[in-house]
Amino acid sequence: MRGFGELEAAVMDRLWAREAPTSVREVWEGLQERDLAYNTVLTVIDNLYKKGWLARERHGRAFLYAPVASRSDYGAQLMREAMAESGDPAAALLGFVNQLSEEEGEALRKALRSARRREPR
């Protein structure tokens, strides 16, 4: 079974770029340089739909597909999952540092400034 990968990302790229519900044929035509079979693209799109990444609506005999959320929405969700603490299934990932509140951030900046002032150089 092929892993989830680069082809799926390319398909999502095209669908996000389109900003409107798109047919499989249009996506396939957009990926011409990859020399893919139409059925391959169809399978990928169908899988993405089944996994919940795409929504679809009927348009005549064909389906039109569109991403369920924007790229930035997913980006924000990834951040929330990575940085959030307990309770989240993908939680406890090893991030560099979590975001602080305004006051804590100011306290941190102040600590750095006073330490720098103490340094001889």
């Binding site: 990302a9 990834l78 602080l100």
Partner: protein, 317 residues
């Protein structure tokens, strides 16, 4: 069977660990040793409980059910030999122990499955949404807030936001990447996940949350130490401040704010004023203690089996 002594030893170990390790200076100086100490305490407690549990569940050759060693009340009831009442209670207790053990295993399995599903979804999302960056050696997510993390898996992925790339200088970014690679090399995700699943398997206990927080704290200190071998602590400190503070107003997830500020401040002070490394003899002494304590339950069992006269005078009743 010296069940009571073993449980007592486990309890004392847990108490000492929880009271002493979070504040210890030597843990602050040598976080890896601190992590080992926490794991030693955890494994000691678990071993003791499992050994005593087995003793309760397995039929014993002695006239008294082993559960009587744990429940001291039936000590007196056994002036002659155990009556029916004692036996019934012993079986009931054994059933309760089995039930508790089974519940913990089921909770652990469920928590593990939920975590795997969540992580798989996260990985798929990363593949679809992120842009691979060969020069960085990882994936970039378009997001204004600065963040960087490693995602566990067969290929550990470094993930950095565009906000982080914008805020950090080249040396600061290199320091952050070194810190994240230290997490990967040190298998810190496994260390953290183990404790997390243990916490989820057991009934809700504040102490287990504390242990998980301490492991998370020490794992960050350790990664800072490793990164500081190749990058200056000043760059790490700058990177820490740049990544922890937002350039403007943004969304701060509510559950992130609690409890993380203290860690960032501690890390900053530790980077700016690094503690002296432990002396070789101190390290050796602590390492030996940490390695020995988890063996005590096994030693007790061995003594029990090999030297019955000895164990007869160390058991209770």
């Amino acid at each position: 069977m010296i069940a009571v002594n073993m449980l007592l030893f486990a309890f004392v170990t847990a108490l000492v660990a929880v009271r002493w390790l979070p504040r210890s200076r030597w843990v602050f100086q040598a976080p890896l040793l601190g992590i080992a100490a926490w794991y030693a305490a955890l494994s000691t407690v678990l071993t003791a409980i499992v050994v005593v549990g087995f003793g309760i569940l397995l039929p014993s050759s002695s006239p008294a059910p082993i559960v009587c060693d744990v429940l001291l009340w039936c000590f007196h009831a056994m002036a002659g030999s155990p009556g029916l009442g004692v036996k019934v209670i012993a079986y009931a207790f054994a059933g309760a122990v089995l039930g508790a053990l089974g519940t913990c295993l089921v909770r652990a399995a469920r928590a593990g499955a939920v975590q795997r599903r969540g992580r798989r979804r996260h990985a798929e999302m990363l593949t679809l949404v992120g842009r691979p960056d060969r020069r960085l050696g990882g994936t970039v997510i378009d997001h204004p807030d600065p963040a960087a993390y490693v995602f566990p898996g067969r290929r550990c992925r470094l993930v950095v936001t565009s906000g982080a790339l914008a805020r950090l200088s080249d040396v600061q970014l290199a320091a952050v990447v070194a810190h994240e690679h230290a997490h990967v090399d040190g298998r810190h995700q496994v260390l953290l996940d183990t404790v997390r699943l243990l916490r989820l398997a057991l009934p809700r206990m504040a102490v287990m949350t504390r242990v998980e927080q301490q492991i998370a704290r020490l794992v960050e200190l350790r990664a800072d130490d490793v990164a500081a071998r190749r990058h200056t602590r000043g760059d790490l400190a700058d990177a820490l401040v740049a990544m922890a503070t937002r350039p403007g107003r943004g969304l701060v997830p509510q559950d992130v704010v609690a409890g993380t500020g203290g860690d960032a401040l501690e890390r900053l002070h530790r980077l700016l004023e690094p503690p002296r490394p432990l002396r070789g003899t101190t390290t050796a002494g602590i390492a030996v203690t940490v390695a020995t304590i988890p063996l005590v339950p096994f030693v007790l069992v061995a003594l029990c089996l090999l030297l019955p006269p000895l164990f007869a005078c160390v058991t209770v009743g």
